[in-house]
């Protein structure tokens, strides 16, 4: 049986490669065969690719069943993020689809659905399935039918704010008993335009009322730290006329046509991903026939198609989108099979080139295989491969990267360059929950690191180099200006993180106002660049034990090697001393990713107090006399 399954698998792979079968169909079949052969990891990887490729409900429904059985079999459900979906229509099909969509969003998710008629009760009733499910995230998914806006009201503003209050009240009801992340779908108006073009003109028209409701919903959500899922935008792109099938609504209270559910599930997964901080960070791009038309080694710099030619303009649209990504904090890198001098000359010699060499945080042009180049870039930037996305027009290059570096997301491009920009825009892995000032500045920091590396070459020893950087640390208690960035760092820092406690914004706000808690952010600047807020320390006074206990201690990997940890330790010691406490107690909670800091406490003179499998508790007597502080970073403390 095994050999015949393997033969079938080979057949299916070759028909996929040869384009003989629909790609989604072939990928789903391959995943199924891999599962039957017991290779669950391969099956999940294939399903992930399926999700990025296919959009049909019938296949997604089968993929979702396969995904669920693989996750159950692999014991992944217990560690999964628990997502509840509650709404006003039938949502049973959506739940499993969200699970499979999350494969492509780097999340393992298990769902619970409360559909029709349970919207308010699920939120309010202590015995409800929602409460017992204890969700990490709740997706609120009402439909247009549940909206009670009257026809042509005389006071449109009043009816909209009245309606809004009805929906935002549910947020408070859930928050009263749960720390779960909240996601709110906005409202999709019913298809059909009863007033014709007046729908756009009258402030009291249905269309205008829904637009206003969605606008106010977004404002309220921002204030309440609720993430909006822009299903209104998704439905418009899909086609409002097809978004809902009235037969299915009347028969089974399906508010969204089954054919549109994969798109809706993907949108929810994308917002969940951004909310949980599972965002990818680096786009590695090919050059020839990706960023421009033609091959620079053959056609010469002057022969490349850029401005003024139809194909060239399609490639310039890709460049323009890369610049947008860079402005949002995504790092750009080049991995090209080219002579490095020639590759660079294309950027410097063509005036119609939008990107310049300085836009790239890494630039690898060589004849080595691309997986090797991508690995090299990952080392250079000190980032894991699971932060990478790969863009290349050549299907063979995409395939080798897919096979050798399964952690890297590979964007499938259509044959024609006119579709490249859209394929890139439709890829959702770079989305962030919010765009902070630090995001925009971050790319400049990586570029400055290259300059700092040059300085390193000329300095004779490390200490001299670090001194020459003229580093300064601004330490500030959590406040309104820093909390968004603090929350972001808490959510996404994996490696240099002693406890990996993912506090909610509400919890962090609580720390900010509690005198028993030392809760500070650290912003690092040097003579080249402002790194922004890169480290956080939270410690709680335990007077009974005469100790200040570290709740969270973390640092962005961008500044490893800058001795920031010494400064962090200095300020924890100072915090303990200020509170009249004699001991500093450090907690280390082991995860798969934070081995980097396993020895941090002993390095700073802590003694192991006790340990269990995954948790160590360390203690340090800070003594009566202050020790000299880190001389390499000039620390400035702001007071609350």
């Amino acid at each position: 049986v095994t050999t015949s399954l393997e033969a079938e698998l080979d057949d299916m792979r070759s028909s996929l490669d040869a384009g003989l079968r629909d790609a989604g169909d072939a990928l789903l079949a391959i995943a199924g065969l891999q599962a039957r052969l017991g290779d669950d990891t391969a099956a999940l990887t294939t399903l992930r690719r399926f999700v990025l490729t296919d959009r049909t409900y019938r296949r997604w429904e089968r993929a979702a069943r396969l995904c669920r059985s693989l996750q159950d079999r692999g014991g992944m459900t217990s560690a999964a993020t628990r997502v509840a979906v509650i709404g006003t229509s039938t949502l049973d099909q959506l739940g499993p689809l969200v699970e499979v969509a999350c494969l492509a969003a780097d999340l393992t998710v298990t769902t619970h659905v409360s559909g029709i008629g349970q919207y308010e009760t699920a939120a309010l009733d202590p015995a409800s399935g929602l409460r017992r499910f204890a969700p990490d995230a709740v997706v609120l998914a009402p439909d247009a039918g549940a909206v009670t806006l009257p026809t042509l009201p005389s006071d449109p503003d009043a009816v909209v704010s009245h309606e809004l209050a009805r929906w935002t009240a549910v947020w408070g009801a859930i928050r009263a008993h749960s720390d779960a992340h909240l996601l709110q779908l906005n409202f999709v108006p019913l298809a059909g335009r009863p007033l014709g073009s007046l729908e756009a003109v009258l402030p009291s028209s249905r269309r205008r009322l829904f637009a206003e409701l969605n606008r106010q919903l977004a404002v309220a959500a921002k204030d309440a730290n609720v993430s909006i899922v822009d299903v209104d935008g998704v439905a418009a792109a899909y086609g409002l006329d097809r978004w809902r099938d009235d037969r299915y609504w009347y028969h089974a209270k399906q508010a969204v046509a089954l054919g549109a559910l994969p798109l809706l599930a993907s949108e929810i997964a994308a917002v969940l991903r951004s909310r949980l901080g599972a965002t990818r960070k680096v786009l590695v791009t090919d050059l020839d026939n990706t960023l421009w038309g033609g091959v620079v080694g053959d056609d010469g710099v002057a022969g490349l198609e850029l401005a003024g030619s139809p194909i060239g303009e399609a490639h310039l649209a890709v460049q323009s989108h890369l610049l947008d990504l860079k402005a949002r904090g995504v790092l750009l890198a080049v991995c090209s099979k080219n002579d490095p001098e020639i590759a660079r000359s294309a950027f410097t010699e063509r005036e119609d080139m939008l990107l310049s060499p300085s836009d790239f945080a890494a630039f690898v042009a060589s004849w080595a295989p691309k997986p090797e180049g991508i690995r090299k870039i990952a080392e250079e930037l000190n980032l894991g491969l699971d932060a990478f996305v790969f863009l290349d027009d050549n299907p063979a290059e995409r395939e080798i990267v897919r096979q050798q570096l399964p952690q890297v997301d590979v964007i499938d491009l259509p044959l024609d360059a006119s579709g490249y920009r859209r394929a890139l825009v439709d890829y959702r892995g770079f989305e962030v929950a919010d765009v902070t000032a630090e995001d925009v500045a971050r790319t400049d920091q990586y570029l400055a690191r290259a300059a700092a590396a040059d300085l390193l070459a000329s300095a004779t020893n490390l200490e001299e180099y670090l001194r020459s950087l003229l580093m300064r640390a601004d330490v500030r208690p959590f406040d309104d200006a820093t909390l968004p960035r603090v929350h972001q760092l808490i959510g996404k820092t994996n490696q240099w993180n002693l406890t990996t406690r993912r506090h909610t914004l509400e919890t962090l706000q609580g720390f900010a106002t509690d005198d028993a808690v030392l809760a500070v952010s650290l912003r690092l600047t040097d003579r080249f660049v402002d790194h922004g807020i890169v480290a956080i320390a939270i410690a709680i006074a335990r007077p009974v034990d005469d100790a200040l206990e570290i709740d969270s201690l973390l640092m962005s990997c961008r500044v490893i090697g800058r001795t920031v940890e010494r400064t962090l330790m200095d300020l924890l010691v100072a915090g303990a001393r200020e509170r009249g406490l004699r001991y500093l107690r450090g907690v280390y909670r082991r995860t798969q990713k934070n081995g980097l800091v396993a020895d941090l406490y002993p390095e700073f003179g802590f003694v192991l107090e006790h340990e269990t499998d995954d948790v160590q508790v360390w203690v340090r007597d800070i003594g009566a006399v202050a020790e000299p502080e880190n001389p390499l970073i000039d620390r400035r403390d702001a007071r609350r």
Partner: protein, 82 residues
């Protein structure tokens, strides 16, 4: 023609409802593990998608067993019913 429709019908039934059950025309929902009102919707959708017709509201609601559904699908798919 109708043999082809029958084969596609059976495959869709297996894909959406239960891939273990032996299909015969007297089967009704209460005899088949996994044939619920929810999976029935998936079955209806898959049949419409496969054959390119639409069930009316009364057709969606009023089917007693698999044989009736198959007869309706065959008639609609071969153009006898519109």
């Amino acid at each position: 023609m109708s043999a082809d429709i029958n084969a596609r019908f059976d495959e869709i039934f297996h894909d959406t409802i239960n891939d273990q059950v032996v299909v015969h025309d007297e089967l009704s929902a209460d005899q088949v593990d996994g044939w619920t009102s929810l999976t029935h919707i998936n079955l209806i959708y898959a049949l419409e998608d496969e054959f390119g017709f639409e069930f009316s509201q009364s057709e969606m609601a009023g089917l007693a067993n698999l044989g009736e559904l198959r007869a309706l699908v065959t008639a609609k798919a071969s153009g006898e019913l519109r």
